[in-house]
């Protein structure tokens, strides 16, 4: 029996508070293993204007490289209290912040390992379909062999690579269009 997919629509400008208030932008309470990091994601439109009414979601593996999900059946530790999901709206500066731990590496279906990365969903007024992208870490061992980055034109890879800014803070601008347009993925 085949059922027709429900089409996507914009989140609109007035998404209700529960979408952000009941989900943590702080993913890693005390006791969770791993290197503490803060991600600062900023959102821009095609003209370079910041987007203050966007919603960003992140999904990541824990510091051991294990996803908290039944389809990740590998024998690696799960951290109590770390789900790996965060949601935050952008503020008047177009920024959303997430306190988390640096994810471990996860395997690639055709073999080998992916570099450490965080999966990102972008929603906003005027965005009709969820925009999926990734965050990688500048200087990370593994970037050169990452199979996903290899799918991306060398000149555009930098749009996926966060830069370190002070102790544990990583910044990544996300441009929905324009000269610095971020790479988005069809997953």
């Amino acid at each position: 029996m085949s059922h027709a997919l429900t089409p996507s629509q914009t989140i609109g400008p007035f998404y209700w508070g529960t979408l952000v208030n009941t989900y943590r932008a702080d993913l890693a309470p005390p006791g969770v293993a791993g290197e503490r990091i803060e991600l600062v994601l900023s959102l821009f439109d095609a003209e370079g204007a910041l987007i203050p009414d966007g919603l960003l979601e992140i999904w990541q593996a824990n510091s051991h490289g294990r996803y908290n999900h039944p389809d990740d059946r590998r024998n690696l530790p799960l951290d109590a209290g770390f789900e790996g999901f965060g949601r935050a709206s952008t503020d008047t500066n177009g920024e959303a912040r997430f306190a988390t731990v640096k994810p471990g590496r996860v395997p690639w279906p055709a073999g080998g390992m992916q570099a450490a990365h965080v999966n990102i969903n972008v929603f906003a007024r005027g965005v009709l379909n969820r925009l999926a992208t990734r965050l990688y870490f500048e200087g990370d061992p593994g970037l050169a062999e990452d199979p996903v980055l290899k799918l991306v034109d060398a000149a555009r890879r930098r749009t996926l690579i966060a830069k370190r800014d002070g102790a544990g803070i990583w910044r990544l601008p996300i441009h929905i269009g324009g000269a610095h347009e971020t790479v988005f993925f069809d997953i």
Binding site: M1, S2, H3, A4, L5, T6, P7, S8, Q9, T10, I11, G12, P13, F14, Y15, W16, G17, T18, L19, T22, D45, A46, W59, A61, Y67, N68, H69, D71, D72, E83, G84, F85, V106, W108, P109, A110, Q114, N119, N121, F123, R125, G126, V127, L128, R130, L131, A132, R134, L151, V152, R156, I176, G177, E181, T182, V183, F184, F185, D186, I187
Partner: protein, 231 residues
């Protein structure tokens, strides 16, 4: 390339990102095509958004404040399925909407219509083992927006679902059958013609509660697993 775990949407299912009749899409849509990504663990896993996050009565938007909100009370219910017709159990369904007068309980909404102190317009529920969900709410009003001259959004309820994986994430809107504003709405009409009626709920006399509330049925279909998944 490895076989996809989750089916990829055929063209004609979702809106194009650039849908110029909806003006905000012009500066908020990528120009470059999305890069096809084989599905790894990163894409086939996703948050469970478990029951521990839910409070009682979050699916009854008429009982979240001291008094009852004004407007026409309705039941909105349905099933969350995948493309193979399989129910999606224990899936978090989140909704938000304006009040009966067409005003959102949101600081950014400046529409000159009354706020209702008894209606915040947000609700959440998890589907049961058969993928069923139900909300009690009030029928949202139409509201004007500045997209073009005399632009009005048809009455709608926003829906957010994650489903089983990062790949199945969906945000959409539910509309009401027979709404004359649908014909004029660039957001509804951004969906290709053969697919847009899927966003209309159906009036459901069976579920209507006599002397109390009308009912609407809205099934949501998420991407399904491929027939022979790689296990």
């Amino acid at each position: 390339m490895e076989k996809d775990i989750y089916q990829r949407p055929a063209t004609g299912q979702h809106p194009l990102n650039l849908s110029p009749a909806y003006k905000s899409t012009v500066a908020r849509s990528p120009k470059q095509p999305a890069i096809m990504l084989p599905q790894s663990l990163s894409e086939i896993t996703g948050p469970s958004l478990g029951a521990e996050r839910l409070n009682a009565l979050e699916n009854d938007l008429t009982r979240q404040r001291i008094g009852e909100p004004l407007g026409e009370r309705i039941v909105v219910h349905g099933r969350v399925l995948d493309e193979n017709g399989k129910p999606v159990p224990k899936a978090m369904v989140e909704i938000w909407q304006c009040n009966a007068a067409g005003r959102y309980h949101h600081p950014g909404d400046q529409h000159d219509a009354p706020l209702d102190p008894n209606f915040t317009g947000g609700g959440r529920v998890r589907t049961d083992d058969e993928g069923k969900y139900e909300f009690i709410t009030i029928k949202p009003g139409a509201y004007p927006w500045k997209n073009h001259h005399n632009a009005w959004r048809p009455a709608h309820i926003h829906f957010s679902l994650f489903g089983p994986a990062f790949a199945t994430r969906l945000i959409t809107q539910m509309y009401f059958p027979g709404d004359p504003l649908l014909a004029y709405d660039p957001i509804y009409n951004s969906v290709p013609e053969g697919a847009r009626t899927r966003l209309q709920a159906s009036f459901d006399i069976e579920t209507t509660r006599p002397e109390w509330a009308l009912a609407y049925k809205f099934d949501v279909v998420l991407r399904g697993r491929n027939a022979t998944p790689m296990e």
